[in-house]
Symmetry: C2
Subunit: 613 residues, 2 copies
C-alpha cells in the first residue's frame, strides 16, 4: 500500500503554493492554487494559450504534446501548463496573459479592451470656496455648483455636512453612487476607495478586496460560514426560522460575522481602514442572500419555494451590520428561483453567458447542484438536491477537502496511489477521491454498473494484485481499503453504502443536466462546452466524472474549469455598473425549471443512478 | 376704568368659539377662531365674498356698509362678515364658499377646479394569486405584475414581505411614494391613509391631520415647542449646539416630542391608528427644520449664516423619531437662506405667489420678521430681527396671547376699552394690545413721534378725562394704566421702555420692508397687496399697525390677512405633489437679501424708529 510523496509547487507572482502528486499537470496544479488558466483547446496542447515559465524544479513534458513554443522561449523555461507534468518541487511563473479571460478582465489592467472598470461607487475630490456675505449659498448648492449637477444628499449625510465641510476647510472627498452622496471623507486623507466582493456560500465564504478605481485585487480571504452550527444545509437553516421567526436575526448576525471576519483580515493585510470600503457585492444562493439581507426565508422552505425578490437589490452596509463604511452600498445579486440564486447569476456573468452563441452548460456541483443551460436566447436554470456526499458528509469516512483528506485516487500500472492533503496521515476521504475511487473501481471491474462492490471471490482473474488485496469482505458487502491504518491512525475505506450515496448525488446532478437538455431538445454533443464552477467542480477529474456518469459523454476537452465563477462575477460587478447591468439582463433571460415537477426528471434520475457501461 | 363684557361667538360647522368685544366685526371674530374668510375688497363691504349666516344672537350692521345681499338672503340671516359687528352672543354659519381660497382649495371638494389632491404617498389594494408549482415567481415579481410596473422595495420592506403576504393571504395594501414601496398594510384593514402637516415654529407647533386620498381635514392641534426650555429664540438654541454638539440630539428630541404630542392628540380625536399616518410635511424656519432633521445648525450661528440645504428634502419618519408609521415619508420644505426658511416658502405657496402678477409683499411678523417681495419674475426675501416684543417678551408686563392677556385696546368716545383673553382678570398685555395702545396714544397726543410718553402736565387740554386719568408719572417717565388692579390682582400698565422696545421691533420690520422695496425700485403704493401671515399678523389692527409705522402707508384694504400661511402651505404639499413642485419653483425664484449688509437697511431702520406724524 503505497502513499506517494507529493511535491510543492509555488506559483508566482501570487506566491500561492500547493502540494500535488507527481504526474499532475501544471494546469491542474494551478487550478488547485485558485489560478484558472486559458484553455480554449480544452487542455489538448494545441492552442498554446496556457504558457507558463518554470523557474526552477523538475517537470516533464508530455510525450504526446506537440511543442507550440519557439525554441528560444522553451530554452528560457516557458512551457504549456496543460502538457507539463510535475516531477518534483517547482517554482512557476504564470503571466497574466495566460489567465482565463474573466479573471484577466479584472485582474490585469494591460488587457486594455477587456478591462471594464466603472464602479458604482466612486469618490470626487472637492475644494470649495468658503461662504461669504456676498456668497451665502446653502452648503448643498455650493457643492452642486462645483460638481456641476444636482445631487441627492440623504439625511444621514446632511446631518453632519455643515460641520464636516467647515472642519475640513471646505476640502473633502465626496463618495457617491451616481447622484447619491454616500459619505464625505476628509480632503487630506488618501482617497483610495475600496470594495469587497463576497461569495457567500452555505458552507464557505470567500471575500476579495479590490481597489475600486483601478480594479486591482488587493487580497483574498475565506472562512467557514458562521451559520454552520445552525445546520449544515439551507433547509435546516430555513426550518430554524420557520420554527421561531426571531432566529432570523441570529442567523443574519452569524453570516454578517463571517463577512466581517473576512473584511477585517483583508483590511489588516492591505493596511487599509474600514472607512475606505464604500462598496460591497454579494453573491450567494437565494437562502443565504435573503438571510444576510434580513429577509424572511420561510417561504423558501415550502412549495413552491418562491424567493422574495428577483432583480438585484442595493442596500446600505449598515442594514447588514457590516464593519465597513456605514454608508457603503451593498449590491446583492439577482435571483432566478428559490434554489437558483445570485451565485448562479454571478457565475453566468463570469462565464460570459451573454457573449456566447452556441449551447453551453454551466454546472456548479455542491449540496445543491445548480445547472444553467444557455441555448439561443433562453437560459434554463435548475437546481437539484445532490445532498452533501460531494462534501464528504453521509460518507462513512468522508470529510471536507482539508488536511488529512484523501483527495485523489489513481491506479497506475495496476497499483492504486492516493494523495492526502497537507502531506499528513490519511484521516478520511473527500468528494474528489470518492469519484476517483469509484471510477477506478468501475474501470478495473471491482464494481458493477448497478453500484454493487463485488465480493473478493467474484473478481476477474486479471485483477491486479494490489487492487485485489484492497478489496475486503465487509459484513456481507465488500469495502475497498484506500489507506491502511497508519501508526496510531485508522484504515480509510470506501464502503458499499458510500457508493450508494455517490450514486444518489451524482444521479441527481446528471438527471438535472439531462432534463434541461431534453427540455431544450439538445443532446450532450450539441454542447459547445460544459463549464464546471465552484470549489468542488474545479478539482474533479473530468474523465472520472464522466466514467461515473456525473457528466454526460462528450469530448473531454469541452469540459472546462472556470474556477470560483460566483466570486469572479461578484468582483466584476464590484468594479463595473455595466457588469451589473449584464447580470440583470442574464437574470431576465433565465427561466426557472422546477425539476421536481418536470416529467423528464424522475425518469432521468432513475437512469442516472446506473453507472455507464 | 371700564372692562367691558365680551361675547361668545360660535362658528359652524367647525364649532369653534371665541370671546370678543362688542363692536368687533364678524370677520375679525372669525379670524380669531382661525377661520380666514375671503376679502378681496379688503373688508370694505363692497365685494360681498365674506357672506356668513347669523343663526341666533345679536349683531349690528355697519352703517356705512352698502348691503350687497338680496333681500331674501338678508331675511334668512345672511350678512357680510366684514360689515357686521358683534352686539351679543351669537351662532354664525360660515359656508365654505366664503373661506379664503387657499383654505378652500383643500378643505372643500366641491370647488372642483381648485381642489388639487394628488398625494405623494398613496395606497394600492392588491389581491394576488398565491404561488403554485406552475407559478413560482418571486414575491416582488408577483406584485409588480399586478401593479403593472417595476417597483422599488427598500430592504426594510423586503425583510417582512414574504411573511406579510402569506399571513394576509395575498391581500394587502401597498403604501407607496411613486415607485417606492413604503409599507404593506393588511388587506382587510381600512385603507384610509392619513397625513399630518406640521408648522414647526420656534415657539408654537401646529399640526393638521388630513385624509390623504380626499384632502379632508380631520383635525388641528397645537402645542408649545418643547425646545423652549433651551432658549426662547433660534440663536440661543443654535448657540447651545455650538457649545456642545451632543446637545443637538436633545433639541431634536424636544422638537420631535412636540410633533408626537400633536400627532397623538390628532389621532386620538380622529379615532385613527399611528400606522395609518404614512406622510408628513413640515414647514419651519431654517433652524427648526435643520434641528428636527438632525442636521447640525451651528453654521446658522456664524456669518454668513449659510443653511445646509436649499431644495426640500424627503426622509423617513423613523429618522426623525416620529410616532407614526415608521416608513412614513417626511417632506421638509425648501429653504432660501439662514433666516428665510421653509415656513416662508410654504407661506408663498399658500399665498399663491406664482399665480400673482403685480407686486405683492408677504410679511410674517414674529421674533424674526420674514418678508418676501414678489416683483415680476423675482422674489426678494429677507429676515429682520424684530426681537420678541411682539410676543410679549422684554415688555414689563408683556405676555403671550393667552388667558389673562389684554389683547385689544381701543378708545371709543374718549374712553379706553380693553379686551382680556378668556374673560379673566387682566394679567398682562400681549403684542396686539401693545400696538393698539401705542397707536391710540399717538392719536390722542399722549406720545410724541420720538416715542416719548408725555408727562401728565404736558397733555393737551382736549385730552379726554379717562385718558388723562390713566397717564401716571412713573419715576421720571410716565406710564399708561391699561387696567387698574383687580381684586387680588395687579395694575397693568404700559411703560416708557415698553414703547422703546416696540419702536425697535416695529422699526426692524418696517426697515426690512422699505429696504426690499427700495432694492426693487418700488414704492408702497406700487404694491397690489400686503399679505399678513402668521399667528400674530392676523390679530393686529391694520390701521393701528400703519399708525405706528409697522406697515407702510397704502390704502387700508390692500392689507390682507391670510392666516397661518405656513401651515396652509404644509397642508397643500401634503396632499399634492404638484404643490411641492410649486414650492420648489418658488424657492428657485427667490433671492436671499442679507439686510445686515444692505446699505439701505441701516438708514431705513433709523428712520423707521420715528413714529409717523
Amino acid at each position: 500500500m503505497n502513499k506517494t510523496t507529493e511535491h510543492r509547487i509555488v506559483f508566482q507572482p501570487s506566491g500561492r503554493a500547493v502540494y500535488v502528486l507527481p504526474g499532475t499537470t501544471l494546469l491542474e496544479a494551478a487550478a488547485r492554487a485558485g489560478l484558472v488558466l486559458q484553455t480554449p483547446c480544452g487542455g489538448g496542447g494545441t492552442c498554446g494559450k496556457c504558457r507558463v515559465r518554470v523557474y526552477s524544479g523538475q517537470t516533464s513534458e508530455a510525450a504526446a504534446a506537440p511543442h507550440r513554443l519557439p525554441p528560444k522561449q522553451a530554452a528560457e523555461g516557458w512551457r504549456l501548463a496543460c502538457s507539463t507534468r510535475v516531477a518534483g518541487e517547482a517554482v512557476v511563473e504564470v503571466p497574466s496573459s495566460s489567465m482565463f479571460e474573466t479573471t484577466q478582465r479584472i485582474l490585469t489592467s494591460d488587457a486594455g479592451h477587456r478591462l471594464s472598470v466603472a464602479p458604482a461607487v466612486a469618490a470626487i475630490a472637492l475644494s470649495l470656496p468658503p461662504p461669504t456675505r456676498e456668497d451665502d449659498r446653502p452648503d448643498v448648492a455650493r457643492i452642486e455648483a462645483q460638481v456641476g449637477r444636482k445631487l441627492d444628499f440623504p439625511p444621514t449625510v446632511l446631518a453632519g455636512l455643515p460641520g464636516q465641510l467647515r472642519r475640513n476647510r471646505w476640502s473633502v472627498h465626496l463618495v457617491h453612487e451616481g447622484d447619491r452622496i454616500l459619505a464625505l471623507l476628509p480632503g487630506d486623507a488618501p482617497a483610495r476607495t475600496l470594495g469587497v466582493a463576497f461569495d457567500l456560500g452555505t458552507t464557505t465564504v470567500v471575500g476579495t478586496l479590490l481597489d475600486l478605481a483601478s480594479g486591482q485585487e488587493l487580497g483574498v480571504s475565506s472562512t467557514l460560514n458562521g451559520q454552520i452550527p445552525f445546520g449544515d444545509d439551507v433547509l435546516s437553516r430555513i426550518q430554524r426560522v420557520r420554527e421561531r421567526p426571531d432566529r432570523l436575526e441570529e442567523l443574519q448576525q452569524a453570516a454578517a460575522g463571517s463577512l466581517n471576519a473576512i473584511a477585517a483580515e483583508l483590511l489588516r493585510t492591505a493596511g487599509a481602514r474600514a472607512e475606505q470600503v464604500v462598496n460591497v457585492t454579494l453573491a450567494g444562493n437565494t437562502t443565504m442572500q435573503q438571510i444576510v439581507c434580513g429577509i424572511d426565508p420561510s417561504a423558501l422552505g415550502e412549495i413552491p419555494f418562491a424567493p422574495a425578490f428577483a432583480r438585484g437589490i442595493n442596500l446600505p452596509a449598515a442594514c447588514l451590520g457590516l464593519d465597513v463604511n456605514p454608508a457603503a452600498r451593498v449590491y446583492v445579486f439577482p435571483q432566478v428561483g428559490g434554489f437558483v440564486g445570485g451565485d448562479t447569476v454571478s457565475g453566468m456573468l463570469a462565464a460570459g453567458f451573454d457573449r456566447l452563441t452556441r449551447p453551453v452548460l454551466l454546472v456548479d456541483i455542491g449540496t445543491n447542484g445548480e445547472i444553467a443551460l444557455l441555448h439561443g436566447d433562453r437560459i434554463l436554470c435548475a437546481s437539484t438536491a445532490a445532498g452533501p456526499a460531494f462534501e464528504g458528509a453521509r460518507i462513512a469516512q468522508g470529510m471536507r477537502a482539508t488536511t488529512g483528506a484523501i483527495e485523489k485516487v489513481v491506479v497506475v500500472d495496476g497499483e492504486m496511489l492516493v494523495n492526502v492533503i497537507g502531506n499528513a496521515p490519511a484521516a478520511g476521504l473527500c468528494g474528489t477521491a470518492l469519484i476517483d475511487a469509484v471510477a477506478e473501481m468501475l474501470r478495473h471491474g471491482l464494481l458493477d454498473t448497478t453500484g454493487r462492490i463485488l465480493a473478493p471471490d467474484e473478481l476477474p482473474a486479471a485483477t491486479p494484485p494490489d487492487l485485489r488485496r484492497r478489496l475486503v469482505a465487509d459484513d456481507g458487502d465488500s469495502r475497498l481499503v484506500l489507506a491502511a491504518a497508519a501508526e496510531g491512525g485508522v484504515e480509510i475505506s470506501l464502503r458499499q453504502r458510500d457508493v450508494r450515496e455517490l450514486q444518489l448525488a451524482s444521479g441527481a446532478i446528471r438527471a438535472g443536466i439531462d432534463a434541461l437538455l431534453q427540455r431544450a431538445g439538445l443532446g450532450p454533443n450539441d454542447l459547445e462546452a460544459v463549464l464546471l464552477a465552484g470549489a468542488f467542480g474545479n478539482f474533479i477529474r473530468r474523465s472520472n466524472a464522466q466514467r461515473i456518469g456525473l457528466l454526460p459523454p462528450l469530448p473531454h476537452e469541452r469540459i472546462r474549469f472556470i474556477g470560483n465563477a460566483s466570486s469572479m462575477g461578484a468582483k466584476m460587478a464590484l468594479v463595473s455598473t455595466a457588469e451589473r447591468a449584464r447580470a440583470e439582463r442574464l437574470r431576465e433571460r433565465s427561466q426557472h425549471v422546477d425539476l421536481s415537477s418536470d416529467p423528464g426528471f424522475q425518469m432521468a434520475f432513475g437512469m442516472a443512478m446506473i453507472f455507464p457501461e
